[in-house]
């Protein structure tokens, strides 16, 4: 057993630490105050390869590993936790399911631009009435012709609004609950997809629960399903 980082990992730590100190820290307090996402910082992370650390070069990544990715998140979060969570949702929440379960075509189409930082990723699992109990989700996906029509709404979506690519979970077979859950890749421009406002005003619990049953309809194009059905099962 050895508790020592490799030279490569030390280099990544040094690189990210310098970047964090010089490019992220100076505006951290100000961005926090203004609740502002700074795309320029994300673009600079992309230039350094930070937006696709664990993904192979063939998918636009730098071909490193999860340890390097964790080091990057740690160093960014030392100066700005918001930047840390942005990259973490982008990489491990949104990127990973595509890398692990996507078809070659999906990886080229979605993972590559994400890894290169041209596109930002997000992950939609939580719903107003299902948080810890993610298996209790209500969003459904119905096959209509050669398209899935997805209806429902998701809440607390990190990077929601700034992301281009969303990995979203919905029930293709509501009877089978967890086993009937499928994962979809959704582009922000799909018709019927909309993003709510960042903050909500004061509401009572009951009002909120009622509201969740008036879920807005979200219509989506077909996405290859076979592979995706495995997504939740193997988690």
């Amino acid at each position: 057993m050895q508790f020592k980082l490799t030279e490569e990992h030390e280099m990544i730590r040094k690189m990210v630490r310098d970047f964090a100190q010089n490019e992220v820290a100076p505006t951290a307090a100000e961005r926090d105050e203004e609740e502002r996402f700074d795309r320029e910082i994300f673009d600079k992370m992309a230039e350094l390869g930070l937006t696709g650390i664990p993904w192979p070069e063939e998918y636009g990544g730098i071909g490193s590993d999860y340890l390097a990715y964790c080091i990057a998140i740690e160093e960014l979060s030392r100066v700005c936790a918001s930047t840390g969570v942005t990259l973490s949702a982008h990489t491990s929440l949104a990127g990973w399911p595509i890398y692990k379960f996507g078809t070659e075509e999906q990886k080229q189409k979605y993972l590559r631009p994400m890894a290169q930082g041209e596109k930002i990723g997000a992950y939609g699992l939580t719903e107003p009435s299902s948080g810890s109990d993610a298996g209790g989700m209500r969003t459904t996906a119905k096959l209509v012709g050669d398209e899935y029509v997805i209806s429902g709404s998701k809440i607390f979506i990190t990077n929601g609004g700034i992301a281009d690519t969303y990995v979203v979970f919905a029930l293709t077979d509501p009877e089978s609950k967890q086993k009937g859950t499928s994962a979809f890749i959704i582009e922000k421009d799909f018709p019927g997809f909309s993003v709510g406002k960042k903050r909500r005003s004061l509401e009572s619990v009951h009002h909120r629960l009622r509201k969740s049953s008036l879920m807005s309809a979200v219509f989506l194009r077909k996405i290859s399903l076979e592979k995706k059905e495995k997504a939740l099962k193997s988690r």
Partner: protein, 378 residues
């Protein structure tokens, strides 16, 4: 031994509780954006809440210390911000004049303060002396010149500072003598040379005013010296126990307020087919929270009882503040946890209690200072 409030105290609690629910709740959102609750304070004045323990002779409600603690407790359940405004106004903004003022000073200042027509503030802390108030490297110095004192210096973290009419100011009249050279003064708003800084941006207590106050050749008539020259530190410390019990009562209120929301939410929120309150992980959490609150309540009201009886309560007041403030922080954190992701948003009130709770471990003697007081009294 009896664990019972008198009928009068119960009535007080009911009255203040109803007032807080009906009259304070509607102002919470505005206070969160930094609006000082002037209209609420005016109503509190009309109800006699701004001078609860002050005798009727000086325009107060003439009730006991226990009633005052009950009021702080109830108000803080709904608004910790109003809790601190009231506590500073009464226990350190008004009481020093009541205890140490001349008859003339009392007649001049107390009735307006007790009626809530004037608001009080207390200026002790300086940039270089917080916990160690005795050191008062008192950059604030008062020099006697004829019939007045000329005061120079500056104070930080002055609660109510931006809105107050009357300031109790501590400054050194004899810097050689250290804490024995400190004197207290009553200073009126508008006194030339009294400069009020801009509001600090704080983690919590957003509706309260906390400012730096600077004295630039501020001239104060000798008639406004409180007590004698050199008695300032004694005056500052005299009401410390009562002040600590007040903050302990504020902390208790914060914990109770957060708890109420957590229980309500836990009973209504279902995950895994039943209310989370019925999931043992949350049920046990709520049980721990409720138990800590009950323990705080006993400590706070025991200290208040001792104080009401005029008995020694230095150790008990410190214990009450230490324990109740820690409980406030812990319970508020756990309340956020019970709310899950919703607790982390500004949509629900628990994050506000969470932010408001922390300062109870800091002002009127940090928790470390309370431990020093307790350990010296063992």
């Amino acid at each position: 031994m009896e664990f019972k409030f008198t009928e009068e105290h119960e009535m007080m609690r009911k009255m203040v509780s109803a007032f807080a629910e009906n009259e304070i709740t509607p102002h919470i959102e505005a206070m969160e954006t930094g609006v000082f609750p002037k209209t609420v304070l005016q109503k509190m004045g009309e109800l006699g809440l701004m001078g609860i323990p002050i005798s009727e002779e000086y325009g107060g409600a003439g009730m006991d210390f226990m009633s005052y603690i009950i009021a702080i407790n109830e108000i803080s359940k709904v608004s910790p911000t109003l809790g601190v405004i009231l506590s500073v106004h009464t226990s350190v903004g008004t009481n020093p004049i009541v205890y140490f003022g001349t008859e003339e000073q009392k007649r001049k200042y107390v009735p307006k303060l007790a009626a809530g027509k004037n608001l009080g503030a207390f200026c002790l802390t300086e940039q270089s002396s917080g916990s160690d108030a005795a050191s008062l490297k008192s950059k604030a110095v008062a020099v006697k010149e004829g019939g007045e004192y000329r005061i120079n210096g500056s104070k930080v973290f002055i609660t109510n500072g931006g809105e107050a009419d009357v300031f109790i100011v501590f400054a050194s009249t004899d810097p050689q003598k250290g804490s024995k050279g400190i004197s207290a003064f009553v200073v009126e708003k508008g006194t030339p040379g009294l400069i009020i800084g801009k509001d600090e941006r704080k983690m919590g207590l957003h509706g309260s005013s906390t400012v730096q106050v600077t004295f630039e050749d501020m001239k104060v008539p000798t008639a406004n010296l409180l007590g004698k020259e050199g008695e300032g530190f004694k005056i500052a410390m005299a009401n410390l126990d009562a002040g600590r019990i007040g903050i302990a009562a504020q902390a208790l209120g914060i914990a109770e307020g957060a708890m109420k929301h957590a229980v309500q939410y836990a009973k209504g929120r279902e995950q895994f087919g039943k209310p989370i309150a019925e999931q043992q992980g949350i049920g046990f959490k709520l049980a721990e929270m409720a138990t800590s609150i009950e323990a705080s309540r006993l400590l706070v009201y025991r200290a208040a009882y001792l104080r009401s009886q005029g008995l020694n309560c230095g150790k008990e007041a410190a214990m009450a503040k230490l324990f109740a403030s820690r409980t406030a922080v812990e319970v508020a954190i756990e309340a956020v946890q019970v709310f899950g992701g919703y607790g982390y948003t500004t949509e629900y009130p628990v994050e506000r209690y969470f932010r408001d709770a922390k300062v109870t471990e800091i002002y009127e003697g940090t928790s470390e200072i309370q431990r020093m007081v307790i350990s010296k009294n063992l």
